[in-house]
C-alpha cells in the first residue's frame, strides 16, 4: 500500500528560503501539498483553514516566532508533526523545544537531503533522531529532574522501549500482537502519565529514568 501523501506547510521569514524549500519538497516522493507562510501568524491562519501532516518552522521570524507558533500548534493541532529549522543548536535551547512538543530538529548548516529523512521520520515514528537531538537528550539525561509520574504498567514500559528503538506504530503493534488502535491507546496513557507531549519527550523521559542508555 502506497503511504499517504504528506502535506507540508512551512514558515520562514526569508522569501528565498521558502521558494527553495518548496522546490526541494517538490522533489520528495512522498510529499503532497506544500503551502508557505512568512511568519507564525500566517501559518496558524492557514492551519485554521486546513491542517497539514507536518510543518517546518523557522525559529527566528517576526510577528510570531517559531517557539510561540510551536506552542500554539501543539495545543490546537496535536496531530501535526513539527520540524524546527534553526541556526542555534545549543542543548538548552533544544530541550526547551522538546518541552513544547517539537518532534524534530534540523540545523541550517545540515545537508538539505536530511529534510526528507526528517520529514518521513516525524510522520512515521513521531520523532527524528539526529546528532542535535542526541546531544540535547544526553544533556537532559544528566540533570536531576523531579518528575511526578504514576507508575507505568509493564506493557506500557514495553511500548515505551520499543518507541525509543525507533519502530513505527505499525511495527510495534505487529511485534506485540496488538491492534494499532490499542497501541495508540497505550501511548496516550503513557503520555499522560509521564506528562510529555510526544515521542521526543518519551525518549528524554526514558533517558532520565535510566530505562535506556544513549
Amino acid at each position: 500500500m502506497e503511504p499517504k501523501k504528506i502535506n507540508v506547510y512551512l514558515a520562514d521569514d526569508h522569501n528565498v528560503v521558502r521558494k527553495g524549500m518548496i522546490r526541494l519538497l517538490g522533489t520528495f516522493a512522498r510529499v503532497g501539498r506544500v503551502k508557505e507562510a512568512a511568519n507564525g501568524k500566517e501559518l496558524l491562519a492557514l492551519m485554521a483553514y486546513d491542517q497539514p501532516d507536518a510543518v517546518i518552522l523557522d525559529v527566528e521570524m517576526p510577528v510570531m516566532g517559531g517557539i510561540e507558533t510551536g506552542k500554539r500548534i501543539a495545543d490546537s493541532f496535536p496531530n501535526v508533526k513539527m520540524l524546527i529549522l534553526t541556526m542555534h543548536t545549543e542543548e538548552v535551547f533544544i530541550n526547551k523545544l522538546v518541552d513544547i512538543g517539537i518532534h524534530g530538529f534540523l540545523s541550517k548548516s545540515a545537508e538539505p537531503e536530511e529534510v526528507e529523512r526528517a520529514l518521513y521520520s516525524v510522520v512515521d515514528k513521531d520523532f527524528y533522531k539526529n546528532e542535535i537531538f542526541d546531544r540535547a537528550i544526553a544533556m537532559a539525561g544528566h540533570s536531576n529532574v523531579e518528575d511526578k509520574y504514576s507508575k507505568l504498567t509493564t506493557r506500557e514500559i514495553e511500548i515505551l522501549l520499543l518507541i525509543c528503538q525507533e519502530l513505527t506504530p505499525g511495527e510495534i503493534s505487529e511485534r506485540l500482537q496488538i491492534s494499532e488502535k490499542t497501541f495508540f491507546n497505550h501511548r496516550s496513557h503513557i503520555l499522560t502519565k509521564t506528562g510529555v507531549r510526544n515521542n521526543v519527550g518519551l525518549i528524554r523521559f526514558a533517558l532520565q529514568r535510566r530505562l535506556i542508555a544513549i
Binding site: 528565498v16 528560503v17 527553495g20 522546490r23 526541494l24 542555534h88 538548552v92 541550517k108 548548516s109 538539505p112
Partner: protein, 272 residues
C-alpha cells in the same frame, strides 16, 4: 608730631605687638583649617574623577559587548538563512539534473564554497557571541572555547577544579579575557600545547593560561587593542594579572586572580 607720654608709648608698643601676635596666630589657625579642607576636597575630586573614569570604561565595555552581540546575531541569522537557501537550491539542482564532467565539478565546488561559507559564518558569529553563555555558564563556555581551538598542530586542553555556576556580566568579561589570551597565544606563541585551567577557591577564581611556545617579549605585543581590552576588563573585575614562566621553563604562563562577590562553597555543594 605731638610728644607722646611714656605710658602712652608703652601702651602703643604693647598693644600693637599683641595685635601682631594675634594676627599671626589667626593666620596660622586659618591656614591650618583651610589646608585641611582643601585637602579633603582634593581627595574627593580625585575620587569622583576615578569613579567617572570607571563608569566610562564600564560603559565602553558594555557597548562593545552589545555591539558584538548585535553583529553576531545578525550575521548568524541573516547570512545563515541565506546560505541555507543557497544550499537548498543547490540540492534541488542535484536531485533534478544529471550533472556531468565540468558541470559536476563546478557543482561540487559550489557546494564546498557554500559549506565553507556557512562554517565561517558560524565561527565568526561564535567568536563574537559565545552561544548561550547565560544558559551554560562560564565553565562550559571556556571548555567549548578550548575545544574549538583544538587544531592539527595545537592541542588545547581545559582543566577545572571545583565547580561554580557563573554567568553574569563579570563572567562574560572573564570569558573575553581568556578568549583574547588564547587567541593571542595561538597567533604569536608558536606553541603545540596550550592549557587553560580554572580553580574555584573560597571567594576567588584562579585562571592559568599556559603554553609551551616562544614565551613573551616584553615590548611589542603589549600595546594592541587586544591588550587594552584585557587591561580594562581586569580593572573592571578588580582582578590581578601576572605573567611568568611555567614550571616547565618553556613558554609562558599567565595567571589571573579574580575576586568573586560571594563564596563558591555553597554552589560547590549543590552542583559538585
Amino acid at each position: 608730631m605731638a610728644e607722646l607720654s611714656e605710658s602712652e608709648t608703652i601702651f602703643i608698643i604693647l598693644t600693637s605687638s599683641a595685635g601682631m601676635l594675634l594676627l599671626v596666630g589667626a593666620i596660622g589657625i586659618f591656614i591650618l583649617f583651610y589646608q585641611k579642607r582643601m585637602f579633603k576636597m582634593r581627595l574627593k575630586n580625585i575620587e569622583t574623577e576615578q569613579e567617572y573614569e570607571q563608569n566610562m570604561i564600564k560603559a565602553q565595555l558594555k557597548s562593545q559587548e552589545q555591539e558584538r552581540n548585535r553583529i553576531g546575531a545578525d550575521l548568524h541569522d541573516s547570512l545563515g538563512s541565506l546560505l541555507w537557501a543557497a544550499k537548498i537550491n543547490s540540492s534541488f539542482i542535484q536531485r533534478t539534473t544529471d550533472l556531468q564532467g565540468e558541470a559536476k565539478k563546478s557543482y561540487d565546488e559550489l557546494i564546498q564554497i557554500l559549506d565553507q561559507s556557512i562554517e565561517s559564518v558560524r565561527r565568526i558569529s561564535w567568536e563574537l557571541t559565545p552561544e548561550a553563555f547565560q544558559h551554560i555558564g562560564f565553565s562550559k563556555s571556556v571548555e567549548k572555547l578550548c575545544q574549538r581551538f583544538n587544531q592539527q598542530h595545537l592541542t588545547v586542553s581545559f582543566t577545572e577544579m571545583g565547580t561554580y555556576n557563573w554567568n553574569n556580566d563579570d563572567a562574560i568579561h572573564a570569558y573575553r579575557i581568556i578568549q583574547e589570551l588564547v587567541s593571542n597565544s595561538i597567533k604569536h606563541a608558536n606553541a603545540t600545547l596550550l592549557n587553560v585551567s580554572i580553580q574555584w577557591m573560597e571567594n576567588r577564581l584562579l585562571i592559568f593560561v599556559q603554553d609551551n611556545g616562544i614565551g613573551f617579549t616584553l615590548d611589542g605585543n603589549r600595546t594592541g587593542v587586544g591588550w587594552w581590552n584585557i587591561q580594562q576588563r581586569i580593572k573592571r573585575l578588580n582582578a590581578q594579572i601576572s605573567m611568568g614562566i611555567p614550571p616547565t621553563h618553556q613558554g609562558s604562563r599567565i595567571s589571573i586572580i579574580i575576586p568573586l562577590a560571594h563564596g563558591t562553597e555553597k554552589n560547590q555543594r549543590v552542583l559538585g
